[in-house]
């Protein structure tokens, strides 16, 4: 066999290098496109919301009045900001313990034959479109909530301010519970991965000093995985804050001061649902359109703050306190 001469080899090498370079350039462009899209979106939102901020100043963010009638327009979105926080808070309060329970069961308790099908089913929950949850919530789930949770609570605990009012089933609480169901697949499947990544040597060490299964999970497994679990919760929160369709269908869509979340059993509004409800009426160039773009900007900033805040907590608090976490 004739050995390839030097020139040929060099040619191939040269070709390979350019191929790599080409690939590098391509991937860089693709990666940059994510940034560009974010930038364009941000630019549109900032530019579009300038009129509304000029008109109302800070009272756009901290006002409670909402009057879309032309001529006497007032737009204050504080109730929607608080509504977003309230529904997301309920979602975390209910969804996180359930998700952790699922993750712990799958990783620590379930026999292998159950582990795969159940985790598959949990992840399948994430594939159900939001509007389906909304439809189910609207036609079935809200009556369960109304009859079995809201009416009993409001009958006996109605004197507590957050349970006051006449429950209808289309309110902040129902929206929060639907959100809880919707964040379960995200939080549960990431927590499952986090717990699976806890080295077995940690569990063995704990068992060897006489820990029970519950103690091993509580003091070692969860403690080792806490930063990862925190990350899973933040991703769930991100989903809850931005979720639109199901919430719009269930929250009751109050506007203005009546949307201030004073009781769980009262209809409200979130930032996302207010856009979904109103964008159709916003004609191009109107103050209303600017308002919805301003709401969008607020939502984007909230999401960014959550992510940045979470990142800070993860790198600072967990690292400093826990030593070698991860």
């Amino acid at each position: 066999m004739k050995s390839p001469n030097k020139q040929q080899i060099q040619k191939t090498i040269k070709f390979k290098i350019t191929g790599d370079n080409l690939f590098k350039t391509l991937t860089t462009i693709i990666a940059a496109s994510a940034l560009i899209i974010l930038f364009i979106t941000g630019y549109t939102l900032v530019k579009g919301s300038i009129p509304v901020v000029q008109n109302f100043g800070l009272s756009f963010f901290f006002g409670q009045q909402w009057n879309p009638v032309e001529g006497g327009e007032v737009f204050g979105i504080l109730p929607y900001i608080l509504g977003t926080l309230a529904t997301s808070g309920i979602a975390l309060l209910i969804g996180v313990p359930l998700s952790l329970g699922i993750a712990i069961f799958l990783v620590e308790m379930a026999p292998r034959s159950l582990r795969v099908p159940i985790s598959y089913l949990v992840e399948l929950l994430a594939a159900v479109p939001s509007v389906i949850y909304g439809l189910w919530g609207l036609s079935v789930f809200r009556y369960w909530i109304l009859n079995y949770i809201e009416i009993p609570i409001s009958t006996y605990l109605g004197w507590i301010p957050i349970f006051s009012g006449t429950p209808r089933g289309l309110d902040i609480f129902t929206a929060g519970v639907i959100l809880a169901i919707m964040i379960i697949p995200t939080v549960a499947s990431i927590s499952k991965e986090v717990l699976t990544a806890v080295p077995n040597s940690i569990r063995e060490g704990a068992y060897s000093i006489g820990a029970t299964k519950w103690e091993v999970i509580k003091r070692w497994v969860l403690s080792y995985g806490r930063s990862g679990i925190f990350g899973a919760i933040i991703l769930g929160l991100g989903r809850a804050v931005g979720e639109t369709m199901a919430v719009t269908m269930l929250i009751g869509n109050a506007t203005g001061t009546s949307a201030m979340p004073k009781s769980l059993f009262q209809s409200g509004q979130t930032l996302a649902s207010s856009i979904a409800n109103g964008f159709m009426e916003a004609t191009s160039g109107s103050l209303k359109l600017s308002t919805y773009l301003g709401i969008g900007l607020t939502l984007l900033i909230m999401s960014l703050l959550i992510n940045v805040g979470a990142h800070l907590v993860m790198t600072r608090v967990f690292k400093v306190k826990g030593g070698a976490v991860e």
């Binding site: 569990r203 068992y207 000093i209 006489g210 029970t212 030593g323 070698a324």
Partner: protein, 274 residues
């Protein structure tokens, strides 16, 4: 499976006859069989562990020595598909009896693992105190005392006394392994099991652990699995040689290394296979 089990129990075992029945034995394994799924990895193994001695288990990789060791504190139960037959006696009582809580057994029979595994989310102090805190010990003065005493026994105190609040994984590998020994000692166990405790360590750290093992037998019975024959001959009083899931020979270390009775043992000791 039950039929094999019965067969094994009814069949007289040469090993069992070899080992005198010693009433002072701290632990005894009697006809221990272990399966992982359908694969039998231990075949009616017998062993006696005397108090205040070091018993070494040697043998080539995959001979079941670690599996066997894990039967002594019921750790092997944690592996999925693991099944066991036979008895392990601690002070004459079978630790596998139904009413016995494995948690209690693991407090009396401590364990040190192949790879140092201090708890990374806990401080050095908490690593040692963790077992006691599980038992509900809350008096900080008592904890301080036990932590100090355990670290001293593990010859680690002088090296870490100023860093007790640092993470358990912030120290070197050899120190980590001694921390794990301190963690086991803190519960004041009766037996300490060591599963190749030096295999991940450098020679100097290994020498320290070996010295420590010899000191530990003043107070505890130590069972150590090792693939290092020199180590076994240096530190142990008794040696068991295992091969393919069976105990081939068990006796005083000097006898095993100088006058092995079994041809297979001799071949392994002289390095003909391994």
């Amino acid at each position: 499976m039950t039929s094999t089990q019965e067969q094994n129990i009814s069949k007289p075992k040469p090993d069992q006859l070899q080992q005198e029945i010693d009433p002072t034995a701290k632990m005894r394994a009697i006809n221990v069989d272990v399966w992982f799924g359908k694969k039998q990895v231990l075949k009616s193994v017998n062993l006696t562990v005397k108090p205040n001695t070091v018993t070494a288990i040697i043998g080539p990789s995959g001979c079941g020595k670690s599996t066997f060791l894990r039967c002594f504190n019921r750790m092997h139960e944690l592996a999925p598909n693991a099944k066991m037959a036979g008895q392990i006696l601690l002070d004459g009582k079978d630790i596998y009896e139904r009413q016995i809580d494995p948690v209690q057994i693991r407090r009396r029979v401590g364990m040190v693992f192949q790879k140092p595994n201090p708890f990374p989310t806990m401080s050095i102090y908490d690593n040692v105190a963790a077992g006691l805190k599980l038992t509900g010990t809350k008096k900080s003065k008592l904890l301080d005392e036990i932590v100090r005493h355990s670290l001293e026994q593990a010859t680690l105190w002088d090296e870490v006394k100023d860093d007790l609040k640092k993470s358990g994984t912030s120290i070197s590998g050899g120190q980590q392994q001694r921390l794990c020994i301190a963690r086991a000692i803190a519960l004041q166990p009766e037996v300490i099991l060591m599963d190749e405790p030096c295999s991940a360590l450098d020679p100097i750290a290994t020498a320290k652990i070996e010295k420590l093992v010899i000191e530990l037998k003043q107070e505890y019975a130590v069972v150590i699995v090792t693939h290092n024959m020199q180590q076994a001959s240096r530190i142990s009083d008794y040696t068991a040689f295992m091969y393919l899931g069976e105990l081939i020979e068990f006796g005083e270390t000097r006898q095993i290394f100088e006058k092995p009775k079994n041809k297979l043992t001799e071949k392994y000791i002289t390095g003909e296979f391994g």
